[in-house]
Every structure is written in structure tokens, then in C-alpha cells.
């Protein structure tokens, strides 16, 4: 009995040492998700005010403390704005000095916020102590004059982004029921080093890092669900082979059948993947183990079968086939092998990507000679073209919560990675690095690596 208690206490302390919510203020479970309209959450952006944080005990703060406090408030505002759900109210539009108000419900004059249209308000208290920083962050409904989320975080200065993004997750989870994208990454291909290599960055384009150094053509990164493995195609051994990179280690598995070994797609939640191999003389999709052993051949028809993408339950996969004469998107049931054609408009529909919610499939379609991104229902109905008259737009990749789509576009000249909402609004460039960037893939949401 005692030992079990001790273990609990140790675990609790360990969890708190790693950063994370130390204090959860009481919060009401009522009225959840009333703020964001799920049918089109981007139709009306919620006006949100994020004033600069106050210092604990009303002191002014050292220079470094002040700088960290400002950058934390700015990061919080920018990260929430990234979701597309909010309209950030410019701090210059505030009618009074928020530093004069407190951060708790009774200390806030909500009329100061409702009068400038802010429906949501986030206040912060900030403290620097040696290597550590502490933040108390609160989300308020200004019209109801009520706190709806409140958290306190303590951690190393280097964990500033993680602390802010954990709070963002809490906010978005309260408003939409899902934790959002703040713990996700985006892998992509870049020519920055002179060759096509795989890179990855945070969900918002922060800290892009080169993952492969193959000095060859590397393509089609694919995250495993647990984000421990990145599968990709590379010519580093002279031909297009598949590599499964264990991201924590240097170790890599090679899948080098004769011919093509391309377009890997991990089965959700499993150490298995689908990929196109052409050793039979025909480009067919196979199911492989994570170590490269063929479990079974999934497609079996003369012609090209390529670019598999799994439904979130792993029971179906969509793919591209030219069995009817031109590249079109099909869906196949894994157990029965039954195939259905999904796209009929146009004669070049490729790069399908199944949304993590399961209801939609995004793909690139050639429309009037340019590639554009279209989203359709998983049954092939309800087509919605998301990009228009802005160069070529291709390789759509859903965010883990299905709210955003990353894609590659040459609208400003070279191909770069862009992000937009699932409804095509708020199209913006994700990052600015040298070379051209293509083939983005969004990882699952996870704060632990």
C-alpha cells in the first residue's frame, strides 16, 4: 500500500518536473464547443485579445525577463492565429493599459474588452527564476465575464515554445473538442543543400532541420503514427529504393526491390506500410512490414498503381491508378479488395491524402493546365476546389486535426510550402528557406518528441 502511494507521488513529481500543467483551476464543463462552428469554423473568426503578460507580484521585471515575457505573449498570439479560428485584435487598438488591470476574473473590467469587440481574452502572468520560467495563463469569455481555461506552467527557458503550445492546445481543445496541431511537425523535401533531401520543421515552420544527408534525390517523406519512423524514397544507392529511418537512432532499413520502391504510406497505428513496387514489371501497391517484408500485394491490375493513403481506421486506402486510361483516384477496401473509382472530373487527379477525421480526401487535379488542390468527401462527392489562379498547387497534406492543409505551390516563383484552412481560406507561406520545397507531410500531434 505504502509502496504504491510512494510510486504515485514519484510519478507525479516526475511529471511536473518535465513541464506541464501544475495547477488546473476549476473550470466549467458546460457550454463546450459553443464558440467554434464545426461546419465551417473559418467563416467567422472569433475576435481575440492577447495583451502583454504581467509580471508576478506587479514588479517590472529584468531586461531578459521582459524580453521573454513579450516573446511568450507574441508566440501565444501568433500560434492561436495560425489555426485560422481567430482574429487577433491589435494591441494598439486597446482603449486602456491592460497592465493596470489584474489577471483574475474580479480584477478585469470586461467592458474594456467587449467595447473593442474582443470576445475572448487571454491574460498571462510571467516570472523568470534562474534557468526557469513560470507562466499563469487564463482564457476568458469577455461577454460572460467568465474564465474558461486556466493553467500554470513551469519549465526551462528552452521549453518556452512547448509551454505556450500546451496552453494553446488547452484553448483549442476547449473551443473545438480537439487538441489541434501545436504538437505536430511537417516533413518536406527541399533542394536547399543542392540535392533533394528530407527536412522537417515544427507545425508553424519553426526550426527547419535537415533530416537526410544522402547527396542524392530523396522524396516522399511519410511519418509513422508514433512519429518514431520516417519512410522515404531515395536514389542514394543508384535507384529509387525505400528507406525507413528510425529518427531517434542513425539506423535505417532499406527496401530495395528491383525497379521502383516509392510512395510509402504507414498504416495508422501499425508498424506496416503500403508502397508502390515495380519488380513484377508492373507498378503495384504492396503491404509491407516496417522491416520491408512483403505481407501481400494489394492491387493487381495492369497499369500504374501509386500513392496509397490510408483511412484513419486503416481499413481502406485511396490511391492513384491509370487503369481507366488517365490517372484517377480510387479507393480499395483492404479486407474485401473491392475497388471504387472516386474522381471523374478532369483527366489528371493524383496525390490523394485522406483526412485524419476520415470524412474527406484532398488531392491535386490538373485544371486548365495548372495543378490545383481539391477536397472531396471520402465517397467522391462534394468537390471543393481550394486553390485558384495562383500558379501550381500540389501535394496536399492534412494536419492531424483535419483543420489545416499543407501544400506545395510555385505561386511566388520557386516551389515552397504553404498552409491553408480545410476550407481554402488563410493561404500563407509556411517558411522561407533556400531552394525549392515540395512533398509536405504532416505528422500526428504529440508533445513528447
Amino acid at each position: 500500500m505504502n509502496v504504491r502511494w510512494l510510486r504515485c507521488v514519484v510519478l507525479f513529481i516526475a511529471a511536473n518536473l518535465l513541464i506541464g500543467a501544475v495547477v488546473c483551476f476549476a473550470q466549467s464543463d458546460k457550454d463546450q464547443y459553443e464558440y467554434i462552428d464545426i461546419s465551417n469554423p473559418f467563416l467567422r473568426k472569433i475576435p481575440l485579445a492577447v495583451p502583454l503578460f504581467k509580471m508576478f507580484k506587479n514588479k517590472n521585471g529584468t531586461g531578459e525577463e521582459k524580453r521573454l515575457s513579450v516573446s511568450s505573449a507574441d508566440l501565444l498570439a501568433a500560434s492561436l492565429e495560425f489555426t485560422g479560428y481567430f482574429k487577433l485584435i491589435d494591441r494598439g487598438a486597446f482603449l486602456f493599459d491592460p497592465q493596470k488591470d489584474g489577471v483574475l476574473t474580479p480584477q478585469i473590467n470586461f467592458a474594456n474588452w467587449t467595447v473593442i469587440g474582443a470576445e475572448l481574452l487571454i491574460t498571462g502572468l510571467f516570472k523568470e527564476a534562474g534557468d526557469n520560467i513560470t507562466m499563469e495563463l487564463r482564457l476568458f469569455d469577455t461577454f460572460k465575464a467568465r474564465r474558461i481555461v486556466g493553467k500554470k506552467y513551469t519549465g526551462k527557458k528552452a521549453d518556452q515554445r512547448r509551454m505556450i503550445h500546451r496552453f494553446c492546445s488547452e484553448v483549442i481543445k476547449y473551443l473545438t473538442g480537439k487538441p489541434g496541431v501545436f504538437g505536430s511537425k511537417i516533413a518536406f523535401v527541399s533542394t536547399g543543400s543542392g540535392n533533394k533531401e528530407i527536412y522537417s520543421c515544427a507545425f508553424d515552420g519553426y526550426n527547419p532541420k535537415q533530416v537526410t544527408r544522402n547527396h542524392s534525390i530523396s522524396l516522399f517523406p511519410a511519418w509513422s503514427s508514433d512519429r518514431r519512423y520516417l519512410a522515404y524514397t531515395s536514389y542514394k544507392k543508384g535507384k529509387p529504393d525505400l528507406f525507413i529511418k528510425n529518427l531517434a537512432e542513425v539506423q535505417e532499413t532499406t527496401i530495395a526491390n528491383k525497379g521502383l520502391n516509392i510512395t510509402p504510406a504507414w498504416v495508422p497505428g501499425k508498424f506496416e506500410l503500403a508502397a508502390t513496387l515495380s519488380f513484377s514489371g508492373d507498378q503495384e501497391i504492396y503491404l509491407l512490414t516496417g522491416s520491408g517484408k512483403i505481407i501481400k500485394r494489394l492491387t493487381n491490375i495492369r497499369g500504374i498503381d501509386v500513392s496509397p493513403t490510408w483511412s484513419p481506421d486503416g481499413k481502406k486506402f485511396a490511391f492513384v491508378s491509370n487503369r481507366a486510361g488517365s490517372p484517377q483516384v480510387y479507393v480499395q477496401d483492404l479486407a474485401s479488395g473491392k475497388v471504387r473509382r472516386l474522381t471523374y472530373e478532369g483527366n489528371y487527379n493524383t496525390q490523394p491524402n485522406w483526412s485524419p477525421q476520415g470524412d474527406k480526401i484532398a488531392y491535386a487535379s490538373v485544371v486548365d493546365g495548372r495543378r490545383n488542390i481539391i477536397v472531396m468527401g471520402f465517397d467522391g462527392r462534394g468537390l471543393l476546389q481550394l486553390t485558384h489562379e495562383s500558379g501550381d498547387n500540389e501535394a496536399p497534406a492534412w494536419s492531424p486535426d483535419g483543420s489545416l492543409i499543407a501544400f506545395s505551390s510555385n505561386r511566388e516563383g520557386p516551389f515552397r510550402i504553404y498552409v491553408m484552412t480545410a476550407f481554402g481560406t488563410d493561404q500563407r507561406r509556411l517558411l522561407a528557406v533556400t531552394g525549392e520545397q515540395t512533398n509536405p507531410k504532416w505528422s500526428m500531434n504529440d508533445f513528447n518528441n
Binding site: I217, S278, P327, N347
Partner: protein
């Protein structure tokens, strides 16, 4: 005697092959000289630079690319005509092996294009094997749209990129 046999074999295999090709025979006669004639002067310059080549005259034919229509891996009459001449050279130089590279233009998307390039390389290989060239002498590799010879975005350039490239090893 041997040569006659080869010609006979070529006739037996090629003529049905031509019949299955995309267009009628008349078009074959019209279309074939054009790209070949266009290519030759350029290729000759390259050969002159590499003066000591042993197979000087015939290797010109090996350096010629064959071209494809958009989103197609079927051999055009011009491509078939070109492959006939490549087969002839390969028979005369039976100790050589060849890598056939399949390429695409950048108008499609790169996943599908890798598969299409694979089919383009394989269709040239199959044609040469039908003409009696041992498949063990022919390897294929697809580069999809990853290695264009022309980087502009207009039809003339796309046409040049939709090709099979032959490398004599």
C-alpha cells in the same frame, strides 16, 4: 545467312508491333524523319568531342533519346523506328549492356511521374527484347520528372523532357 534470319525475325516481330502502335502506318512514314533529323546534328557535335570512341558511327544512334506523348508510355512510330536502329547497333556490339532511363515532364506530379517513367523505360526495353536483344543486357531506371534536360515551362521543353535516355555501359 545469320543476317537474313535476323531480318526475317525483325520483320515478323516488328510489323505486328507497328500495327498495335497508336497511329496508322501512313503517319509512321510522315512522323518518323522529323525528330530524328532534328536531333542528329546536335548529337554529332557531342560525338566529335569524344573523338576516340570505338563505336563512333553507330553510337550516335544510342545517344538519341526517344520521345513520348503526355501521360503516355506507348512508343510512337518515330520511337519505334529509332529503337529498330538501336537494336541493329546492339546486335553488332553484343558485348555491351545498356541502361534505359525513363523521364517525364514536370506538368504532372512527381509520384505518378516516377511510375510513368518506369513504364516508359520498360516499354523501350520490351520492344528491344522483342527484336531479339537479351533482356540481361538491358536495365531500366525511372527518374520521373527529377532530371529534366530543359527547365522552362512551355511545350517544346516538355516534349524534350518526356523521353527515354540510353546509356551504353
Amino acid at each position: 545467312m545469320q543476317k537474313k534470319k535476323w531480318i526475317f525475325l525483325a520483320l515478323v516481330l516488328v510489323i505486328p508491333g507497328l500495327m498495335f502502335s497508336v497511329s496508322c502506318q501512313k503517319k509512321l512514314v510522315d512522323a518518323s524523319p522529323e525528330p530524328v533529323a532534328k536531333e542528329e546534328p546536335k548529337e554529332e557535335v557531342v560525338v566529335k568531342e569524344e573523338a576516340p570512341a570505338v563505336y563512333k558511327a553507330p553510337s550516335v544512334i544510342m545517344q538519341e533519346d526517344i520521345y513520348f506523348e503526355f501521360d503516355k508510355a506507348t512508343l510512337t512510330p518515330a520511337a519505334q523506328d529509332n529503337l529498330l536502329r538501336k537494336a541493329e547497333w546492339l546486335r553488332e556490339n553484343s558485348d555491351t549492356t545498356v541502361t534505359i532511363e525513363g523521364h517525364c515532364d514536370a506538368r504532372g506530379t512527381n509520384e505518378y511521374n516516377l511510375a510513368l517513367g518506369d513504364r516508359r523505360a520498360e516499354s523501350a526495353k520490351a520492344f528491344l527484347v522483342d527484336l531479339g536483344i537479351s533482356s540481361s543486357r538491358l536495365t531500366t531506371i525511372s527518374y520521373g520528372e527529377e532530371r529534366p534536360v530543359c527547365n522552362q515551362q512551355y511545350e517544346e521543353c516538355w516534349t524534350k523532357n518526356r523521353r527515354d535516355n540510353f546509356i551504353v555501359n
